[in-house]
Amino acid sequence: MSDVKTYEPEIIFDKQGNPHEVVDWDHDYEGAKLGFWIFLLTEMMIFGSLFLVYTFYSYQHGAQFSAASIHMNRLLGGINTFILLISTLTMGLSLANLRNGHVAVCKKYIWATIILATLFLAIKYTEWTLEIGEGFYPGSPSADLAALGHGGKLFFGLYFTMTGLHGVHIIVGIGVMLWLLSLINRGKITPENFVVLENTALYWDFVHIVWIFVFPIFYLIY
């Protein structure tokens, strides 16, 4: 990597003559990480509000919530949990390999993550289709849903909202990973300069952790 420009930080001196480094916005690893953490905080607030809404209603309609939960497909949900878990691992491995200088391997792991994420979406799609087919969706005229009462309606309303929002995050994640690959190919992400990949891995962890909370509250409560 000879064409990588080395960056020399600017130094200024105080009255005693001690040197101090001036942080430049364009070469600020810590700043990039900090900014991303704050962004994750906003994401936590978003999902946090939804969990709050969920708690509020499950407290009011506890029995109906667990009754509705019976209609969840635990097999598909479980497989998806497993897939996301592995994908977090492959994402982490891609970062580790990049740092060790194995760029080609890193790219393979990113591809693996993309494939797993797509698989997750495909399964989620199947699941939604099944549920909608059985008449469990917001605004459905189905008698089965009506039998579940207000709690059941809210349960499925929240289920589609939260898994939908989570799905949007997966889609965004796939987009970001494709962008990562192009950045690596253009030499913008290198074993020395990997903060974008690192932040993406963080994001993917977050998406995974959200699922870890979403899964039990919908699939495992009865």
Binding site: E10, I12, F13, D14, K15, H20, E21, V22, V23, D24, W25, D28, E30, G31, L34, G35, I38, F39, L41, T42, E43, M45, I46, S49, L50, V53, F56, Y57, Q60, H61, Y137, P138, G139, G149, H150, G151, K153, L154, G157, L158, F160, T161, L165
Partner: protein, 558 residues
Amino acid sequence: MSSTHTSFYQETHTVFGHHDNKFLQWIFSIDHKRIAIMYGIVMFSFFGIAVLIALSMRLELFYPGQQIMGPQTYNEAFTLHGIIMIFIFIVPGIPATLGNFLLPLQIGARDVSFPRLNLLSFWVFVLGIIAVLTSLFWNGNAPDTGWTFYAPYSTKTGSNIVMALTGAYLLGLASILTGINFIATTHRLRAPGMGFFKMPLFVWGLYATSWIQVLATPIVGITLVLVILERVFGVGVFDPTKGGDPVLLENLFWMYSHPAVYLMILPAFGIASEIIPTFCRKPIFGYRAIAISSSMIAFIGYLVWGHHMFTSGESNTVALVFSVLTFLVAVPTSIKFFDWIATMYKASIVFDTPMLWTLGTFITFIIGGMTGLILGAVGVDVYFHDTYFVVAHFHYAILGGVVFLMFAGMHYWFPKVTGKMYNELHGKIAFYIIFVGFNTLWFPMFVAGALGMPRRYFDYLPQFTIYHQIATVGSWIFAFGLIYMFVNLYKGIRKGKPAGPNPWNATTLEWQIPSPPQAENFGTIPYVDFMPYEYIKGEPVHHMDLSVDESKKGAHHE
């Protein structure tokens, strides 16, 4: 200042490298100063539009009965007025304009931490505005729910709510991005030596505000999304026929929107804290107390949202708790006011326009704040809720507090931004006209509200006529004053005298570089081992010239 320099108006960086086209140089620029100006232009254009809408509402209210618009149009008018004023004008408000311009300058940085994100947030902002505008013309009625979008009306009405909500969501997103950027910038890019307690107080205000933006805005964001999903898919969260609870929307909404009023006022207080020491030629009294009180206000602000819902069926206990917490906010706020007054004590105050605006604002904001306490008392609020008393209160607080201090800041930093001086005399006259117009406009509302005039009505009983007529006359004086002020500023840009780097003898870093600043702000970044407001015998302690890079000085003479 002998050295010639190229200002940021002549030279800029864009996301896509170099452009010859002047327009593209602006809309793609990643220079925080240019982005600030673009925000300013868009925001003030919409402020003007919202004022025009408000004037037409006031005309409608001149006599009882229908004059120039019917009830549906009136509903759409106050909704649009509210949406523009809140989401487009005052929420991005001071941070996106003055904050964007000044934050890096005041902490000795060459830009914000994420300049491209800064530009992106501006674009998202414009996109949000486009969505809001679309909702007005897109087959069907303009939104008529009021800017709060309360369910179940917002989930049932036939008007274009989804579009308007999408717009509000995007505008919120833009402000989150600004918040992230400012927090990272404040933490990472302060000049060496500048600890947190050596930062200018405007930076403190922006910093506390940014945290509110980051922590509170996502909540309203997801709430708006829930309303969209409710309308499009019938999810049921706010729909009582499906077991949902409309009051939940109010809770989620005010969890954000109450902190949001502090998001508006904290940077405004920051401006006051800059102007007062400069025009008193004294170090500010109680620097640390002012800095910390910003954070206290930001924190307590999260705990008081329930005072908007005293009449929504809260239990008495809950209402009392929220009431007490609301009173608590007055404590850190008063700390600030006492410190400002202590700074002015025995100072030889220079009454230039920025100082005049600041002092005038104290009067209007104190009225706004005090009436806030009145509304915070449960028993009284049950009576005053949704009357013109509330309308007067929040216009005193937001218009007479936030917007007025924004005007103060606009005059104060005008020479820095433009390199020119505005006309002092006309600046002062404009202040007096606006001040008189403002009080004529809003004070009668307190009385009308206390006598029982409900808000959001296009018509009223005859006994309220006199208050409405005084108010409408006030609104014309007020609008005339605004025009007067903006014409004066515009003339300053065209024909003003060159201002020089530091026309006010101020002490913070932005005054140690030329006006207008050059593209990357500083040639030399200083080592900051001094407090922001150091005066001895009315003279600033430091006179620096940070425009050229000291280490390269003499290497090439022009």
